[in-house]
Symmetry: C2
Subunit: 524 residues, 2 copies
């Protein structure tokens, strides 16, 4: 941050802006309950205050509530200038839904004074504060900018931590346009870039003219610093938009998510199991792009139920990517466990137990490689199978981070096609063959699940749209099928509770944004 | 609930009371976002309304907010009588900390009218509403009972969902006494009994006289229905208290927690690995008491590093409990994996990888038994090792529910002594020998961790009391040790993220009440 301040000074900027809770990262979660942690953030604000002698600095940080009544902290935006704290604005609208827990920590602000600086008046706001235009958002009863308008500000600054999902950039621009249309003021919207485990901040900071034109839309998934001339922003009358399709956005978000998860943990190397199927193939490509092919290692672990083409497809992919691969057949391990359990299992028939033993032998081998060589295991499960519990806990559900756990199977196919758009990276056979776990002879996903087109639509209606069984059945789906799928989702909660954090790319991902009981009777 | 209404009518009661959100269970979590789920609860309220022709029914349930502005729901207490909804009170103080997420779903109530029924005036409140006496709780700015007092109520009803921790019963009685001292009114305090996965409701409903005497303290951890005569409560002048020590409370809570986890999932049988150590021994005793010894099965899985006495201690415990046990040595499995990985591992020295392979072979065998016979695997890790990451993901950290994951090692010893108070259930040798994971020759926990007395104190200061390193060092602990332990806690967050839900018995348990970043630089 101090380096960015230097750059801004060299650029002759008057103000340099950072995002929401920039001193702590967003979200700091229960670290906020540690006085020692807040002290560290305050020390950073002191350093930035000292650095503000030749430039104004806008920076988000937690602020201790000086009053005993109410929560201990505010989610504040500091305005630092001339080596002093010139102004502090406390966020008023505190999102407490999906992945957001702000009311757990913060007291809503109620002071709507504006900032006076170098002859200009600035309406300084934090993220959600601009999301209640004309009080039409039912969650809130106050519109902070409406409160500030009597003071006649010259422009608006909003410091945000607005996480990515594949709809979010369009939603954000829509919200900014509505604000600008209402107030006729230039808007400087600053968003974070980078992933914190599950949550991916896509950047895309925005500068908007008072006429509602996008003067600048920052590149997404990329850290950038730029300076703007207020007069130019005011006069702008042409629209400068980025243009990315949904699947490209998801791809770029996942690459950033993997890259930052490793970078922030201080790890470089990943490992995963390549089955020859499309899920592990797509995961491997994303990992290779995030970490470099030299940092990805894969295991091919055929069993007696694996088809030859699976091993060939996996090997072909590894060669296409230029990644190190080892082939370790698991039959001897499987047989050892069969033998160890023969007294207990006697003549009981082969069932899901034996399927799970195979998956867990693979999980064990991958984790052994992970432990020995320091490669983090990547989970390769997709959202459709995570939803219905089609996966083995401690087996193929193992891993430090779930790369495509928020990507439905039908979207995984789209990702594979996007990856192959210029050249065949993923062998076509991995894409076209019928999906199979290959854990028993001639097994196909379609033996136990409906077609993914149908499954994914029903899941989307239930998970993303929160429709109940009656509403989904009324859309024309078979009642028995709908009830079976919804039941599978609910009874698989215990599995999802124990799986890796999932990179979030949709408006409703498994994980911290979807909090479900594990023991419950509803639809189960 | 309908049966309880019948019983109350047979008792000639005027009012029958159920707990907070009794129609949905507490907490219903994101089910509350499903219209279909709310409709189900409303149907239940309709049925109870019909059943209220001959008795008044007080029952907690979500209520749809009729106004567009604000959250969609209230956390309400219905007063049903004469076949009608006579009154609805909406909870005003919404806990949003630790395990509580109420502001995620509910709008705070702001109507403080009281109930008129059979010539009496009733102050009806929900749980947290009575926890802001004289506005001294800094979290809130309203005291609902203060608002109701001008209407001169005759008594107070509070319907609660107040989860157990080993301090909570005393805290609750203290709060009730303060309320009664302030208002001089009889208090009827109704709490839930039973566990919802991690959260254990201990019951202990309370009837208090206007002079502040405990007229009745319901048995803890037991579903009970009793009728009381208001005049007798008013005139009561002697105190009737239960008396349980902390360790007995924890024991009883864990037994109920295990019992309800299985009962609510529709499972009967458990499995776990007995190592001969104290953690698995205590877990086994609790499971046998919760489910019956006939429903518990254990595996003894010695490796080449296991001592003879470990197997003997484990066998002795199994015999003392009368539970089925099998001995399955894991050496052949371990050797199979060594062989499978010899090309990759070459001559690299034995390290934590090989320790983890052993733990995962055991996890695999336990899960195979679980899958084949329908026994849920119980996790046996204690809070001290969960805290510092001393355990193998997908190995000894596997399991459907963590029984003692909120019990520090020093408390596990106390539990073992409590269990053995009348007769030796747990072999004394399991209690007295130095703790060891037995994953390499002559390994002891003390090789890599400080004495548990010291470790647990530092962990308690950090986890329960949220003190920072400086404050803990100032208590007299070695700086290097403190920093090392706090770092271990923080960098092990990725493991805890993937482990089973932990039965909560302390004021700060791992799980939904402690939400920490996985990638973070703070103290790591």
């Amino acid at each position: 941050m101090l380096a960015a301040v230097e750059t801004a000074i060299a650029d002759q900027a008057d103000i340099v802006c950072f995002g929401e809770l920039a001193t702590t990262g967003y979200p700091p979660r229960d670290f906020l309950e540690f006085e020692d942690f807040i002290n560290s953030s305050n020390e950073l604000i002191e350093k930035l205050t000292e650095a503000s002698k030749d430039i104004a600095i806008v920076v988000g940080a937690p602020r201790v509530n000086p009053v005993a009544e109410g929560k201990d902290l505010f989610n504040a935006a500091y305005f630092l200038a001339e080596g002093e704290v010139k102004h502090v604005y406390d966020k008023c609208l505190l999102p407490t839904y999906d992945i957001f827990d702000e009311y757990r920590y913060f007291e809503p602000g109620s002071n709507f004074e504006i900032v006076h600086y170098k002859g200009k008046k600035i309406a300084l706001t934090v993220c959600e504060d601009i999301w209640n235009i004309e009080n039409e958002n039912p969650l809130y009863t106050i519109c902070p900018l409406d409160q500030m308008m009597p003071a006649k500000p010259d422009f608006i600054i909003n410091v945000s931590a607005s996480p990515f999902n594949y709809n979010q950039a369009d939603t954000r621009i829509g919200i900014l346009k509505e604000n600008v249309a209402r107030y006729n003021l230039p808007m400087f919207y600053i968003n974070h870039v980078g992933a914190q485990t599950q949550i991916i901040f896509d950047g895309g900071s925005l500068i908007m003219s008072p006429s509602g034109k996008v003067f600048e839309e920052f590149n997404y998934f990329e850290e950038l610093q730029k300076s703007f001339n207020l007069d130019e922003v005011i006069q702008a009358d042409s629209e400068n938009r980025q243009n990315k399709e949904k699947i490209e956005k998801i791809h770029d978000a996942l690459v950033l998510g993997v890259k930052n998860y490793f970078g922030k943990l201080g790890f470089k190397k990943a490992i995963l199991g390549l089955s020859g199927g499309i899920d592990s193939a797509v995961t491997a490509v994303i990992a290779a792009r995030a970490l470099g092919p030299e940092n990805l290692r894969v295991l091919l672990m055929p069993s007696q139920f694996s088809s030859d083409h699976s091993v060939n497809d996996a090997r072909q992919l590894a060669e296409n990517l230029g990644i190190q691969y080892d082939i370790i057949p698991i039959e001897s391990a499987f047989k050892t466990f069969e033998k160890l359990l023969e007294t207990q299992f006697k003549d009981l028939p082969f069932n899901v137990t034996e399927e799970n033993i195979q998956a867990r032998c693979r999980g064990l081998l991958l984790m052994a490689m992970s432990n020995k060589f320091g490669n983090i295991l990547l989970n390769t499960s997709n959202k459709s199978e995570m939803a219905v519990g089609y996966g083995t806990l401690y087996g193929d559900l193992a891993g430090g981070i779930s790369v495509i756990g928020d990507v439905y199977k039908t979207e995984v196919f789209q990702l594979a096609e996007y990856i192959n758009k210029d050249a065949e990276v993923i062998p076509q056979n991995s894409i076209t063959k019928p999906p199979s776990a290959e854990l028993r002879p001639d097994q196909k996903d379609s033996d136990s699940l409906p077609d993914y087109d149908i499954l994914d639509t029903i899941l989307f209606e239930y998970i993303e749209k929160r429709k109940g069984p009656k509403e989904i059945i009324a859309m024309g789906y078979d009642e028995k099928l709908v009830r079976r799928i919804l039941r599978l989702v609910n009874i698989s909660e215990f599995k999802r509770h124990q799986t890796a954090p999932v990179l979030r790319v949709s408006p409703k991902a498994f994980g911290m944004g979807r909090r479900m009981p594990i023991v419950a009777k509803y639809l189960s």
